[in-house]
Symmetry: C2
């Protein structure tokens, strides 16, 4: 068993006020503090970053030096927008295999090192750059809009339905001091915002964000040796890969890689795939665009096919509903610093399960299980992780 015993999170947003190592330290410092350890206790660390925004190609050693992490071994991992979860996986398997005992996982991105429209092009490279971006001009809003329009057509969903996701996630972002947007919005504001790529308007899209998040993971032996009470275990993880070309997808109302990853994660955690909400107290899903959250409800079996949209209409993914989702604001309002997102989801799982979430956004912990769903590209990578209070 592998446990998370410490977490840290920088303020997400425009962070031109700090350097990359300084931003990293904003997450590393509180992670060390909550875990009650020092740098020398860490025997392996993993840095998740897409890192194409600056000319500095190798930020991991810079961070290591600034945070005094050497000589412990390290590497960088990348899985597009699922980079943070890939980093979690490397730490998880390092400990579970016995190759490490105390691991720091840092997710970080400083996207605003680039400026518009360059940053949009750089994000676009994490699709199929030379074919779909260069030939057809598909940027990420356009990629996901293909899925949104297919969903609208097949299941009678509307732009208003998508706007409801934005309203929910801004509602909770307003209660998260680390969120990029800490402001509630109305459905009218969302619907009246300018179009980015139909049917997406400004409020359907996650923003360009700088941020860092960190967790300290240890072996079960260390939990016992150090007599740690406040910890969350990783119960299982499922990982899937999708085609590079969207033209090769056979379905635009589901991400096959996410369905595949969820099935593995549920099976390994002993969760009934036909009724996962009975086992889970809450979830973070990859709402890079509002419609993606609704499709995630279905890929994760929170709702049957075509009925995900009902969950948001009936406010079933607010706290008190069938399953609270993204009550930290999600990618939409908390922000989406690519490499940090998956680690930020792990931070949220830890906080929610241990009743440490801020006022107005703490879920009820009944079953002691929490799910995170992190997508890279347009389903090019899918990582589903289940966290739990009990071994």
């Amino acid at each position: 068993m592998v446990a998370i015993i410490g977490v840290g999170h920088s303020k997400f947003g425009n962070r031109r006020d700090v350097s990359i190592p300084e931003l990293a330290w904003e997450a590393i410092k509180p992670a060390l503090d909550t875990a009650n350890i020092e740098q020398k206790d860490i025997d392996f660390f993993v840095i998740g970053t897409a890192g194409v925004w600056s000319s500095e190609a190798a930020v991991a050693p810079l961070i290591a030096e600034y945070a005094k992490l050497e000589p412990a071994g390290s590497m960088r991992v990348e899985a597009a927008c699922a980079t943070g979860s890939a980093a979690i996986r490397v730490g998880y398997t390092a400990i579970k295999s016995g190759e490490a005992d105390v691991v720091l996982i840092l997710g970080i991105e400083k996207m605003q090192e680039s400026t518009n429209p360059i940053v949009i092009e750089l994000i676009g490279r994490f699709g199929n750059f030379f074919w779909e971006f260069e030939n057809f001009g598909l940027t990420f809003p356009a990629y996901y809009a293909l899925y949104a329009t297919a969903y609208m057509a097949k299941y009678n969903a509307s732009e208003e339905d998508f706007a409801r996701v934005a309203v929910k996630n801004h509602f909770y972002g307003a209660r998260n001091p680390y969120a990029q947007f800490q402001k509630e919005i109305t459905i009218e504001q969302a619907l009246n915002s300018p179009y980015i790529s139909w049917p997406f308007k400004l409020f359907d899209c996650s923003p360009i964000t700088d941020g860092a998040s960190a967790v300290i993971m240890v072996s079960d032996d260390k939990v016992k040796e150090w007599k740690i009470d406040e910890r969350v275990f990783i119960l299982s993880q499922g990982v899937g890969t999708g085609t590079a070309n969207l033209s090769k997808r056979d379905n635009f109302t589901s991400l096959k890689s996410a369905v595949y990853a969820a099935e593995i994660a549920y099976r390994k955690a002993g969760i009934d795939i036909d009724n996962p909400c009975k086992y889970l107290d809450g979830a973070n899903v990859h709402d890079c665009f509002t419609s993606a959250e609704i499709i995630a409800y279905e890929d994760l079996r929170f709702a049957k096919r075509g009925e995900g949209v009902e969950l948001i209409r009936e406010e079933q993914t607010y706290i008190g509903g069938k399953i609270p989702v993204n009550v930290d604001g999600g990618l939409k309002a908390k922000g989406h610093p690519i490499g940090a997102t998956g680690v930020s989801q792990a931070v949220e799982a830890y906080k929610q399960l241990l009743n440490k979430a801020e006022k107005g956004r703490q879920i009820d912990v009944v079953n002691g299980k929490y799910l995170t769903h992190n997508i890279g590209g347009t389903g090019h990578y899918a990582y589903v992780t289940i966290y739990g209070l009990e071994r």
Copy 2:
């Protein structure tokens, strides 16, 4: 226990004749064939690539689609020039932890997507770009030259000593059909080649290379279930990290991260750190520059401090000597496609231990143990891995 049961290797060199997925397939296909498995048997794959040479940021999904690897989970890893070994580590821990059974590790780099002098600048970014490259103009030959001159001054080594390493590695490269340079050189040729960064001349430097290499790793259970005879086990791995700034190094005749990584690897494999050559039949070390091979001899304890240069003078690292090193041509003659190098070293360990190396470059397998040493940056990352015939 984790075993390598299949290997593949593309021709290294200028590979403008193929696309990145095609180059990958040149390594993946023979790896599948020697392992006698199909793509559907793979439940996780890891792609190691630095990948800054082209605008295509996300080559892993492109390769996955071309090689028909989805829906199995995947990620990309990067650790500068130790990227391939970092990928090995992720596969190794995934299997050892029980999270995967059959893993494909691919290392790939297509550096000649860029042209000079851009490629030199891009490589330079894997040091400390904004500080040491931008301020002081340090490219990689210059970084390593700082170590070479310190070694020369402290231990009375000469340019001729460094040239001997080039002569040896070209001697073996000439016997490796996958090597970029399959041509022997004389010590006069090496000494008369033009200076790149004193004391390094052209023949002291590893080249810009395109290439791919792949291994298939499985759990011990699979080795038994599939009744596999031809396999080598990963006995141990040590990993270390060094400072980002060379100005913070306290010693320029050793890489601290490599010493740290070697100690861990030896201890975990039960190898006497004071006499590792007694246990090892051969090794591949990171000879990005000729002097780096000599310093590696000492960091790995093949020789005492200051006596590494004796090993090459006495031809003790040729086949038949104390410990054969880089008898595939090393980075110097085989070539150094950054992400592929660490995986290529694993391919070499497999071939040597199973007596599959080409004529004129097969070592004597006595103890059944082989070491690989892979450095990222200038010791920013160090990976030392021990392979063995017996569990």
